[in-house]
Symmetry: C2
Subunit: 266 residues, 2 copies
Amino acid sequence: MPSEIPSICALDALRTHRRGAATAEPPDAAALHEVFQNSTINALLEGLYDGSMTFGELRRHGDFGLGTFNALDGEMIALDGEFYQIKADGVVYPVTDHQRTPFATVVFFRPSLGRALDERLSYDELQSRMEGLMEGPNLFYAVRVDGRFAAVTTRSVPRQEKPYPPLAEVAATQAVFELENVDGTLAGFRFPDFARGLNVPGFHLHFLTADRRAGGHVLDLKLERGALAIDATAQFHLELPTDPAFLHADLGHDQSEALDRAERAR
Amino acid sequence: MPSEIPSICALDALRTHRRGAATAEPPDAAALHEVFQNSTINALLEGLYDGSMTFGELRRHGDFGLGTFNALDGEMIALDGEFYQIKADGVVYPVTDHQRTPFATVVFFRPSLGRALDERLSYDELQSRMEGLMEGPNLFYAVRVDGRFAAVTTRSVPRQEKPYPPLAEVAATQAVFELENVDGTLAGFRFPDFARGLNVPGFHLHFLTADRRAGGHVLDLKLERGALAIDATAQFHLELPTDPAFLHADLGHDQSEALDRAERAR
């Protein structure tokens, strides 16, 4: 965990980073406690899969979160500062600082609330339980559940070639994994409805097994028991790509239906 | 202008500020070069007019921008670090650090592009001209026009009492000012369509006369000649209120029509 009072060096690192130079120093993002996001979900839905940020840079903004990879090459989950790539072959790979992401959301996870979950819960029930513990629907929430799952249905998406098809088309070719009786961790976010267009409204969760050998974007689950942690913040930082494909994309129209097909269809 | 390389003290000030303590030091926001926003336009449309941030804090995030005041008491415009309050009586007042705002958008204005505007332009023509100079519709743009105006139609909104009515209702009672043959400054932003729900998509401009005696939220204008400056950034920071009214408000529904009535109707 970064200390609460970052050193002058850490602040220097932030400054250096923001001005574009490479540095290995930790960032000040932990002090900000903001949800940090690279690009927008609308851009991803439109097929903008070129990675605009390195994971070396992304990890300066958070130690927890989810996203995807350059060319849409799988699902990303970050836990405790470790970043994992779950490819469509179902294998979990470590992520190097040189890999790039077209869309990711991270935070330095500092939960303000924890609860033991002692009963079996469906995905809907788990979402309701989490919402019942939140301070209303209008903040940014990072959520983590470590537990035992009777079942988790995950998916991953295969690496794409240009010209990139829209995400809803790719999702039709996704690899689906039915994991049963596994220990593991759910990690993700609940975004407010008014942030539609920027990120997935409502819950968006990824999963990784405790043995770090399987996981993906969560489509469904049955929790047996677990420990829930919720991190609420009122701070959100968005960093947009500046490549021509993003700058001139048509991102303004309502993509709710495409989002549903891309993120929730089995 | 803040220097490009902030001092260690300035960075310390950011840290102190972010951790909640009061400080008179300048912030690091200039180094970040991010558009900073307090609350959301949807919250304002719903009638959430309680100021959630002081202007003392807001000015640490920018020297240029627009917004409104606690209880919706007029229109705010910020130029060169000076903040002005244009009340519904048409008078321009200085803003103190202790006043509060329920919604504001600011940036440390550092234009990357300037153009002389030598011909008469309607409001629509000016918007088209500005869009033609921008790198596509998907970044955050701050825009400033200093010039001579054949006409500027502005409005301001009167201070409200609780229970607060929605903004579209208040706009029906707005004071409209027809300013003719005036020197002055337009200041505001162009937000991407995908940020709908957070801020006004497209252009949102406020106006202040050169003699600092009139202005308001711009409804229409005729430019004679002027100087345009555009500041593009890919960085956006949102800070949400955390009072119960905001936390539990219904902010997710489409408010495009209410927005049009509140921001563009005469």
